[in-house]
Each structure stands twice: as structure tokens, then as C-alpha cells.
């Protein structure tokens, strides 16, 4: 953990200050383009040091955990400390495969956008462990309210990639009928809520969904997802109030990938505190976790899910990670941060770290890894080819009929929409 500079108090507050000019503080990241990457601002706890509390703790009892950092994997790839649960080989294999396929899929779709086959794409590079490991502790019937960067939730369930690609291409097989921007999926059967393009709105909805489950005496839990930047929205705070008040069975995830498009996490309030600390004030037990450590993400997600399932209430988790790629295909990060930032990110690459651990445990090898990479790249290429045969943005004749625009506005189409559809002549 970085040491706080010991500051001399300016004044005790008893003396009246003489009039002086005020000035506005505007947070500024440590580094900008051309600077040497510097992550000394990230508070990192030693591996294995953070305790694993009982499930029924209160927010106040574990307030230190909001400022600490749960870490399991050390630099040598060994699992350490109270959060190190021995995971079965097939769990680790499944996790690694899901992360690698997520990355391969992102690579392929990013390329498709560059070729003009779709309007837009968003990668999750460097953040794959978080959604993949969390999904692996969920059960059928639970509901996630993802942002646009949680495609890992789908890969962890081996969700059919063709269905995802069809949505990205808005083609004739797109289940959402070309209505939504690429990657704003809706897959109810996979416990994947319809993604809104409006930030933070769904955080409170996750709480409401979980309250619904509690009202009905059901056993389902919900997961809310939000980025560091979006925690500034009112809906984030409403979610914590409701979750705390009603002890909703919900996991509230914050993915702190250090950036919100061009603004660093300090602009969202991460300069003077950590985001996990927000939970303490609302009475929601909160933890800060190394998000690039698959084992830590799995263990903490499992702990939080167990709390929710035992009716012990919500958990707020801040996952520390780094947005390795551009915000989206419309963004150029070299304009606002050092080009080689990610290479210096102190928590590494989640895929490399799990790979190292598995090699250490004798379950995996470099050769197998290279082979798997090639296999997934090929899988994505073949799938994309098939999806493209159903239409892309360059082959609009395959798009869903414009008439469908008028459907599902309401269950029953009102007369004025019927007339407008006629007017359109479709």
C-alpha cells in the first residue's frame, strides 16, 4: 500500500482565517501521452494478506477491506492466503478457455468493424477475468445486468458465438432485429439482461430484480455491473441505498479499469478515496479486489454470492483492472494516455497470470496455450464467416425488414403505428 504523506495540519479550525483567494481543484492523472507510465497511485496490498471474513459481517466490521485488496496469485503464479481455495482442474481450464475465447472474439469483431461490416465494437481486453469468473459462481435463473464490457459472462457459459455475431452484424438472424447498437445484447436464457446504452441505469434495476426475488421467497440472486466512471451517476447511489436498506440479494460490481473514455478514475472520485469505500457509507459490505487475478475474482464472487443466497444481503466489489484497449472503435487512447501504459500495469494480464498458475500446477503448458490460441482464432474466423453470410452492415439487403421497427413498441400495435407502417410502405 502506498504510504500517505504525513501532512502537518494547516490549522486546527479554531483560529479565524484571514481572507484568502480560493482556487478550484481539478484532478489530473499522473501521466499523459509521452510520459513514462506511473501507477504508483494504485494502492496494492501484498498477496494473501487480506483476511477472509465470516459471511454475516457488517459493512463497518470489514471497512478495511474496502481500502485493501484481495489478492491470491503471487508473481510466481502460486495461490496464497485465506482466499486461496483449491479450484478443480476443470474449473481452471474452463476459466482460461472462456477468457481466451473472449479475447479471440474481441479481436475478430474489432477487425470486422474496421472492415466496415458493423458500425461499432467494444473490447474487454485485460478485464476478462472479472466477468468470466463471476459467471462461473452463478446458477441458472440468476440475472446479471451487464454493461457493454461483460461479454465474458457469455463466454463463461459457452454461449453460442454465432448469436452474438448476428447481433453485432444486425443481420437477418439477429435476435434483436437490428434494433440495438452492436454488443448491446439481450439473452434472457443466459441470465443476461437487455443492455442499455445509458450508463448506470441498470445498477438500481439489478437491486430491484433481487428485491423481487426476495419478495417472492425465490432463491435467485442478481448481479449489477458498472464502470468506475459511471459510479458518478445518481443511479449508482440509489442502488446502494436500496440494496443497503432492503438487504437485497445482489452482487454490486464496480469494474475499475482506470478510465472512462478519456477521463481517468480521479474524475469520478477515485483520487481521494477508492470506489469500494462508497459501500461503507451506505452500510453495504465492500471489498476491493485484484480483478486480474482469476482466483481472487472467483473466490470473492463466490463469497458474495453465498451471502446473497443466505439472505445476508448485498456486497459491493471494486475490481481493480485496466482497460487495455481503446474505449470503443470510436476512440483513440493515444490522445490522452501513454501508449505503453498497459505494459506497465502492475497487476498484469489476467490470462497470462492464470496460465502461469496452471503451468505451475502441471495442468497446462506453453505449447498447449499457443495451440489453444490458434484454435480459438480459427473458431472465430469460421463463425464470423457464417454470420456474415446472413448479412452485415455492408450487405443491408439482408437486414431485418423495416416493418419490424414498429413491432414490440407495445404488445399490441396501436392504430397510429399501424398507419405509420403503412405510410412507410413496407
Amino acid at each position: 500500500m502506498t504510504k500517505e504523506k504525513s501532512k502537518k495540519p494547516v490549522a486546527s479550525g479554531h483560529e479565524k482565517s484571514s481572507p484568502q483567494k480560493l482556487s478550484l481543484h481539478v484532478p489530473e492523472p499522473k501521466t499523459r501521452p509521452g510520459d513514462k507510465p506511473d501507477f504508483s497511485y494504485v494502492r496494492i496490498s501484498p498477496v494473501g494478506e487480506t483476511p477472509r471474513p465470516a459471511l454475516d459481517v457488517s459493512a463497518i466490521e470489514i471497512r478495511d477491506l474496502a481500502f485493501g485488496m484481495v489478492r491470491v496469485l503471487d508473481d510466481q503464479g502460486e495461490a496464497q492466503g485465506p482466499w486461496a481455495v483449491e479450484l478443480e482442474e476443470d474449473v481452471l481450464r474452463k476459466g482460461l478457455r472462456a477468457m481466451m475465447r473472449t479475447r479471440a472474439f474481441d479481436k475478430r469483431m474489432q477487425r470486422a468493424q474496421r472492415q466496415g461490416k458493423t458500425s461499432f465494437y467494444m473490447q474487454a481486453t485485460g478485464e476478462e477475468a472479472i466477468s468470466v469468473a463471476q459467471q462461473m459462481v452463478l446458477r441458472k435463473g440468476d440475472m446479471s445486468f451487464p454493461t457493454y464490457r461483460q461479454q465474458g459472462l457469455l463466454f463463461a457459459q459457452d454461449f453460442p458465438i454465432l448469436e452474438m455475431m448476428n447481433q453485432i452484424y444486425s443481420n437477418e438472424k439477429d435476435a434483436l432485429r437490428g434494433r440495438q447498437l452492436p454488443v448491446l445484447y439481450s439473452f434472457k436464457k443466459a441470465g443476461h439482461f437487455t443492455i442499455s446504452g445509458n450508463l448506470a441505469t441498470q445498477y438500481i434495476q439489478a437491486v430491484g430484480w433481487a428485491m423481487g426475488s426476495a419478495i417472492k421467497g425465490d432463491d435467485k440472486i442478481a448481479c449489477g455491473w458498472i464502470g468506475d466512471g459511471s459510479t458518478a451517476e445518481n443511479d449508482f447511489h440509489s442502488a446502494l441505498v436500496f440494496a443497503g436498506v432492503y438487504r437485497a440479494p445482489v452482487i454490486l460490481n464496480i469494474t475499475n479499469n482506470q478510465w472512462a473514455i478519456s477521463s481517468f478514475q480521479g474524475i469520478a472520485g477515485g483520487e481521494a478515496t477508492v470506489f469500494a469505500a462508497r459501500g461503507v457509507g451506505y452500510g453495504v459490505p465492500a471489498l476491493r479486489v485484484d480483478g486480474n487475478d482469476f482466483l481472487a475474482v472467483y473466490a470473492v464472487s463466490e463469497w458474495a454470492a453465498e451471502r446473497a443466497r443466505r439472505n445476508l444481503g448485498p456486497t459491493l466489489i471494486e475490481w481493480i483492472t485496466y482497460r487495455a484497449a481503446a474505449h470503443s472503435t470510436s476512440d483513440d487512447p493515444s490522445k490522452y494516455r501513454p501508449k505503453d501504459d498497459w505494459e506497465h500495469w502492475p497487476l498484469g494480464d489476467p490470462i497470462e497470470r492464470l496460465k502461469q498458475h496452471m503451468i505451475k500446477r502441471g495442468m497446462w503448458s506453453d505449447e498447449q496455450h499457443v495451440q489453444a490460441e490458434a484454435e480459438y482464432d480459427e473458431e472465430m474466423r469460421v463463425a464470423a464467416e457464417e454470420a456474415e453470410s446472413y448479412g452485415t452492415l455492408q450487405a443491408l439487403e439482408h437486414r431485418p425488414s423495416p416493418a419490424e421497427m414498429f413491432e414490440n413498441v407495445f404488445e399490441e400495435m396501436p392504430p397510429h403505428l399501424r398507419r405509420q407502417r403503412q405510410e412507410m410502405g413496407v
Binding site: P400, P402, M424
Partner: protein
């Protein structure tokens, strides 16, 4: 000058003239905004006058109101109009009424800028036209330019205005006058007469419409991107349309509207926004009331359909020159 450069220039002129002008919004500081409309302002005027805001639209507008009532002239950016809704309470219940409820003791001279409209394959969260939800609110001025020259003059006038102004920027014409022909490349503003923007300070008065094209056969009431679509429609059909670019929706230039409709005897209203309770309804009511005896045919509205803005079917939805042209022919036959 592109519309982006013109907007940037208006900020620059006003920040240089008036130390009370401050600018902030999501990604609007160091980076200069996702559309680059505030690029360079932080570097030139300092972080305390041009800065990044947390992702909180209600926070951005609420803070701007606080600054405005303190005595500053904040000009803030909402990244896309589609994201203004969290700020709606601050705009409607607060900014719009502070003057009235305090009997002028407190006032709110602030500008809330936001890109509006479609044509960029942005789907339902990057394409909406929100003008009517603001024109329906008492106490707000609502402005929408259709070219760089007006954008600069109107923004300067908005920043100097003593009351809150909602400044809507049609993003599809940021770089050139898009006329609905998506299959053709857009000619950049630098090659267009309205892209010739004067340097330095000038104002385009709020509440004054412009005649984008003089004509005798039919009046087209429109604004923003649709001005260019209507111009293309007139060109392609050969209909001698008079195209009124409203520029300010509130206060509205009723005189210009009446003069034109009384001359042509026919009226078409064109907007991108959804139809029901759209701003076109207000225009129809006004024309009906004041030009009834001059009208030779029922007024026609050409608008977006009453569905969420689509992604892949964008060009079926976006009011095209063909649709506007059809309406022109139809109203002349009536």
C-alpha cells in the same frame, strides 16, 4: 470552418471576452469532447475554466446552475442528447424556473449544449432528437443551428443570454451539410458558403428564423439537418419551395412563419424527431390559427416514426429527400 470548429471558436471568443464563461462536461476538458467541440480550451484558458466532469448529467447541470446563480456563465456539454434525461429534473424544475420563483432575485444564465439527431448508425442511444421535451418546458430557450456560421453566432448569443438556453447541435452536419443522400460523400463545410465563418465576435440573434431558400409554391418549416434534406428535395422535385430554417424554436419567429405561409398558401413541417407531440404539432397549430384563410391545402408533417430510433434500418426511418419531395408533390396536387 466545420460546425465543430465554429462551435469551438464561439467558446474561444466568449472565454476570451468574459472571464465568467466556464466550460465543462464528460471528456470535455483535456481531450476536448468526443466530438472535439471544446478542444484546446483547457490548454488555453486553464483547468479551472475548462474541465472534465464526472459522468453525472444531473451533476453537470446542477453544478452549472449553482455557478450561474453565483454569477458565472457556464456553458456545459452533455455528451449526447440521449443522455440528458438524468439532468431533466435540474433543467425543468430548477434552471427553467429560478428567475420566476425568486421574482428575478436569482437568475440562471447558462447554456446546455448537446449533439442531437441521427444519421450516424448510433442506434437508439446516439440518435434522438429531443427538442420537444424542452420546448414544452416554460422558461427555457431552445436553439438548433443548421450550419457553422449560425452555430457560432447563435452560441455566442446563447452564452450572453440572461436565461437558460438548450443548444442542440445536429451531429450529422458537424462536418458537412448532409442532405439525406447517405450513399454519396458529404461535401465538407469548407467548400460551402455557410462554412465561411467570420473571425472574432458576432451574434446571431435568438428568435429569428432564416430563409434557406426563397420560393413561391410551398413553405417548408424545418431546422437542423432537415434544412439540407428539404433543400435537396426542392432541388430534385423542381418544386419552388420556400424553406424556413427556424434556428430558434423558442422563442419562435412567428412573423417569418406567417409571412411565408401567407405568401405560398401551403405548408409542410419537417423534423427528424418522432411525430406524436413533436415540435411540428406546435407549428401546425400556429399556422392553422394564423394562416387559416391563406391555406389551400392541409398542412403535412414529415417526421421520424413513433418508434425508438433504429440501428440497421436507419435509412428507412430518417426522413429522406424522397419523403419530403413526395409531400411537396402531394401538397401541390391538393
Amino acid at each position: 470552418m466545420s460546425m465543430i470548429e465554429a462551435i469551438r471558436d464561439a467558446h474561444d471568443v466568449m472565454m476570451a471576452r468574459d472571464e465568467n464563461v466556464v466550460v465543462f462536461g464528460e471528456d470535455a476538458g483535456y481531450f476536448g469532447g468526443v466530438f472535439r467541440c471544446t478542444e484546446g480550451l483547457q490548454q488555453k484558458y486553464g483547468k479551472h475554466r475548462a474541465f472534465d466532469a464526472p459522468i453525472s448529467e444531473s451533476g453537470i447541470v446542477g453544478a452549472a446552475i449553482g455557478m450561474a446563480t453565483y454569477g458565472l456563465r457556464p456553458c456545459v456539454e452533455i455528451q449526447f442528447a440521449d443522455y440528458v434525461y438524468p439532468a431533466y429534473d435540474q433543467i425543468v424544475s430548477e434552471a427553467a424556473r429560478i428567475r420566476h420563483r425568486s421574482n428575478g432575485e436569482f437568475t440562471c444564465p447558462m447554456v446546455v449544449r448537446m449533439p442531437v439527431g441521427g444519421g450516424i448508425f448510433g442506434g437508439q442511444t446516439h440518435s434522438q432528437s429531443v427538442e420537444a421535451i424542452f420546448t414544452h418546458v416554460v422558461g427555457l430557450k431552445v436553439v438548433m443551428p443548421s450550419n457553422p456560421r449560425d452555430a457560432k453566432g447563435l452560441l455566442i448569443a446563447s452564452i450572453e443570454d440572461p436565461d437558460p438556453v438548450i443548444f442542440l447541435e445536429p451531429k450529422r452536419i458537424y462536418n458537412g451539410p448532409f442532405d439525406g443522400h447517405h450513399e454519396r460523400p458529404v461535401v465538407p463545410w469548407s467548400k460551402h458558403e455557410d462554412g465561411q465563418v467570420k473571425t472574432g465576435y458576432y451574434k446571431t440573434e435568438l428568435g429569428k428564423a432564416a430563409i434557406a431558400r426563397e420560393g413561391r409554391e410551398v413553405t417548408i418549416l424545418t431546422y437542423g439537418t432537415m434544412v439540407h434534406v428539404a433543400l435537396a428535395a426542392a432541388e430534385e422535385t423542381g418544386v419552388d419551395a420556400e424553406i424556413i430554417d427556424l434556428r430558434t424554436l423558442l422563442p419562435l419567429d412567428q412573423e417569418a412563419i406567417e409571412a411565408s405561409v401567407n405568401k405560398t398558401g401551403r405548408c409542410i413541417v419537417v423534423h427528424e424527431a418522432t411525430r406524436t407531440s413533436g415540435f411540428g404539432a406546435e407549428l401546425c397549430a400556429l399556422v392553422q390559427r394564423h394562416c387559416f384563410y391563406a391555406l389551400e391545402a392541409p398542412i403535412i408533417r414529415v417526421t421520424g416514426y413513433d418508434t425508438p430510433y433504429p440501428h440497421v434500418n436507419e435509412w428507412d426511418y430518417f426522413p429522406s429527400p424522397e419523403r419530403v419531395g413526395e409531400a411537396m408533390k402531394q401538397i401541390l396536387e391538393a
